[in-house]
Amino acid sequence: MTRRIDCDVAIIGGGLVGSSAALALRGMGFSVTLLDKGFCGAQASGVNYGGVRRQGRPPEQLPLSQRAHAIWPRLKALIGIDGEFLRSGHLKLARSAADMASLESYAADVAPFGLALELVGHNQLRDRFGVAGEVIGGSFCPGDGHANPRLVATAFAAAARRAGAEVLENTKVIGLTRNGAGFALEAEGVSVTARTVINSAGAWADSFARAFGEPVPLERTYPSMVVTEPLDPFLGVNIGIEGGGIYARQVTRGNVVVGGERALPLDDPDYSRPRSDGVLTIMQRASELFGPLRHAQAIRFWSGTEATMPDRNPVIGPSATTPGLIHAFGFSGAGFQIAPGVGEVLAELVRDGRTATPIDVFAITRFPPASQPGDASQAAMTTGSKETSP
């Protein structure tokens, strides 16, 4: 027996972007149906590292990032939990003079955005932040921090449900049709009609875009994390490294989360698992950088599936081919912090058709359009296996 739902907005993908959009849209009085093929917040939004970080983003993301920055301290009021958000500061380390120069140049570039970046030298790294190892300096952003992705994404979806959104988990959208008034979505056991559709399907979003004649060079990547047993507090800040390597944070309970390297997809590329040599490399780098980790145990690894775009910027904005379709995906491993801001922006796009936050640079039209546009009247969704870079 197929259930029928008629609503203003259907959102495909219950990650942090889709869930925060659902919550914001409910706040504006729209009727919302949120569909996820699995559990809300179980993919990239829930399995990322948890960095709540503006520093290091390309300048074009900073207006959106600043908008999200204002939301994070209000999580408790917004979704009922604080998500273990800590405004710890984010310290980006430089291992060479060239890397330090790069941090200095970034600080100059983004000065107009008010991140209050502070460049720190080698001695301060040890004295203020307890960082050892081969680093010569760093850049500190005091307003950044970290939070628990497992909780935040799930809580946004739960809050949207409490606010009256129809949240359908384990409900994979298998057909999406544009008709005169809007869209018809077909999923297992449910048919949804909606005036507007938001495509926030993360690593699965490209099939929906392609079906409407907007192919995107979306690649899947799989982050790789190591978690230690709880340790006495020693790491007060969220750590990153210029040029990559590892990133690390210590949660209130004492566990240290260290990310780096890439996991590998399993036979089903929706799933992945950390590589053994990858986690050993992370463990090696972490124990070289932080003395207290040399005698610590790793108790858990995790991975997930993320969508990455070649220019490291997301796709956010209206479809160029299909009225009423709005895209928001491809956050390239850096979506956690800005996602709550993206949700508000999407809600404004639905209500007003525009937003005051600059997003033009994220338009899907920056990618070459399809030479052979798909049949935009009937889209069959498939998620094929993809080659990914290691």
């Binding site: 559990f39 053994s276 780098r285 790793a298």
Partner: protein
């Protein structure tokens, strides 16, 4: 043609030992990794150092089997690549990661026999984390491997054949066993009559143990419910309900457990399919009568595949090895395989009866008091779990893990996972099989971060 990699056997208990012998007899040289310092597994565990007791004192009625297995494995010494004190922490694509002496090594294999054994299954009760409380298996290992008792005046509580065996072993070792608190009612024990024709020896031995305990003054209680362990800073007494009344027994040590649970993480990482097994109230790796799993070249034997005891483990280890030989195109004794399968079926029927005689107290999962610690690694109470289930409308165990941290700590859900599933099933009124299973993740057990340092000193890969 490149030489094929050797088979890998994980675990050197009765299943792993017999598997190794069978492969060696066919001319193969398997790698055998084992967390123990010497072969024997949990059931035939050897002492770390001699404590003056002989095998008869250590293993009781099973001394002959223990000695035979130890001797047989010792005879393989030069014929296998034996790696004791070694933790297999990850498996993928025909290679295993093995941690030994702080360093991690990657070992390629062709054919994998998992003989990973079992640990106690526990459901949290008030006071279960007090010093002085041990699992039944832990209490037995203390006696067997270290020659020490968990207390001077001890109570054993829970369910399963191990309950009486450990109590009896403690009594024989000269420890005062104040009580055996059996969660099952006396009526369940009449199932044992059905076991008599299958294995009179085992049934009579169990009855004799219970009788000897009673003769020495041990209180044996059937239908013990609402267990709680009390004390300031350590165990002082255990309280329970039986026959509609509350009782208390003073003690300074408690052995507690509800049958056993299979160690299935390696099978999960090896890509084996799982199914729900109602008798064991657990998701177990799928295998056929030969021990073949759903993954090519992966074989399952012993309690790690399904709880069946040490005698079954020996046979299943041998049977799985024969399957590996057959799949490799090597000569193998198919008539022996048929005999083993028949014996395994007989033991399985006996197991059905034992499970009926020692039923799992499934109502306990719904009864766990809100202030009882459910996940001791992450210090999550049953009440917090219940709140998360209702706040997030959870129905699936991995989502409960994601939201609460239950099963994310050092034990990776090996201790709390079964209880969390029972609680979730009870609260959502779903069948225990329907709430799913915690997916295994590497590392199977904690590994030191320094393991990364040592491996990279040896084999630095500039590509990463």
């Amino acid at each position: 043609m490149a030489e094929r990699a050797p088979p890998l056997i994980v675990g050197a208990g009765p299943a792993g030992i017999r598997a190794a012998m069978t492969l060696v007899a066919a001319g193969l040289r398997p790698i055998v990794v084992d967390e123990g310092h010497a072969c024997g597994g949990q059931i035939y565990r050897q002492p770390l150092s001699s404590d003056g007791r002989d095998a008869e004192a250590r293993y009781g009625s099973e001394a002959a089997k223990a000695l035979r297995l130890h001797r047989d494995f010792a005879a393989l010494d030069t014929l296998i690549d034996y790696r004791p004190r070694s933790l297999l922490w990850n498996l993928r694509d025909g290679a295993g990661d093995i941690l030994r002496d702080e360093g991690s090594q990657r070992v390629r294999y062709d054919g994998l026999i998992l003989a990973t054994g079992a640990t106690d299954r526990v459901l949290p009760i008030p006071g279960w984390t007090l010093p002085g409380v041990f699992t039944l298996g832990g209490a037995q290992i203390a006696l067997k491997a270290q020659g020490c008792a968990i207390g001077r005046r001890v109570v054993f509580a829970g369910s399963g054949p191990l309950l009486y065996l450990v109590a009896w072993q403690y009594m024989r070792a000269g420890v005062e066993v104040a009580a055996v608190l059996d969660a099952a009612p006396l009526s369940a024990k009449f199932n044992l009559l059905r076991a008599l024709p299958l294995s009179p020896g085992i049934v009579l031995r169990g009855v004799r143990m219970a009788a000897e305990l009673k003769l020495r003054g041990t209180r044996v209680v059937f239908g013990a419910d609402r267990l709680a362990i009390e004390g300031e800073g350590r165990v002082a007494r255990i309280v329970y309900q039986a026959g509609g009344r509350a009782h208390a027994i003073a003690c300074d040590g408690v052995g507690y457990g509800l049958n056993l649970r299979s160690e299935t993480q390696a099978a999960d990482l090896a890509g084996c399919a799982f199914h729900f097994e109602p008798r064991d109230r657990a998701h177990l790796p799928v295998r056929d009568a030969s021990g073949r799993s759903s993954a090519a070249g992966v074989y399952l034997a012993g309690d790690g595949a399904r709880i069946a005891g040490a005698d079954a483990a020996e046979r299943a280890g041998e049977r799985a090895a024969l399957a590996l030989l057959e799949d490799r195109g090597l000569p193998h004794d198919s008539s022996r395989a048929a005999v083993l399968e028949r014996e395994l079926q007989r033991i399985d029927r006996l197991r059905d009866v034992l499970e009926a005689a020692f039923p799992y107290p499934s109502h306990w999962g719904g009864d766990i008091a809100d202030d009882t610690l459910l996940c001791r690694c992450e210090e999550i109470s049953a009440g917090e779990a219940r709140r998360a289930v209702s706040d997030f409308s959870l129905t699936e165990i991995n989502r409960l893990k994601a939201v609460t941290r239950i099963g994310m700590g050092r034990c990776q859900g090996r201790m709390c996972g079964a209880a969390a599933a029972e609680l979730l099933a009870a609260q959502t009124r779903r069948d225990i099989g329907a709430v799913g299973r915690l997916r295994a993740q590497a590392p199977i057990k904690p590994i030191p971060l320094a393991a990364g340092l040592s491996v990279h000193e040896r084999q630095h890969d500039p590509a990463h």
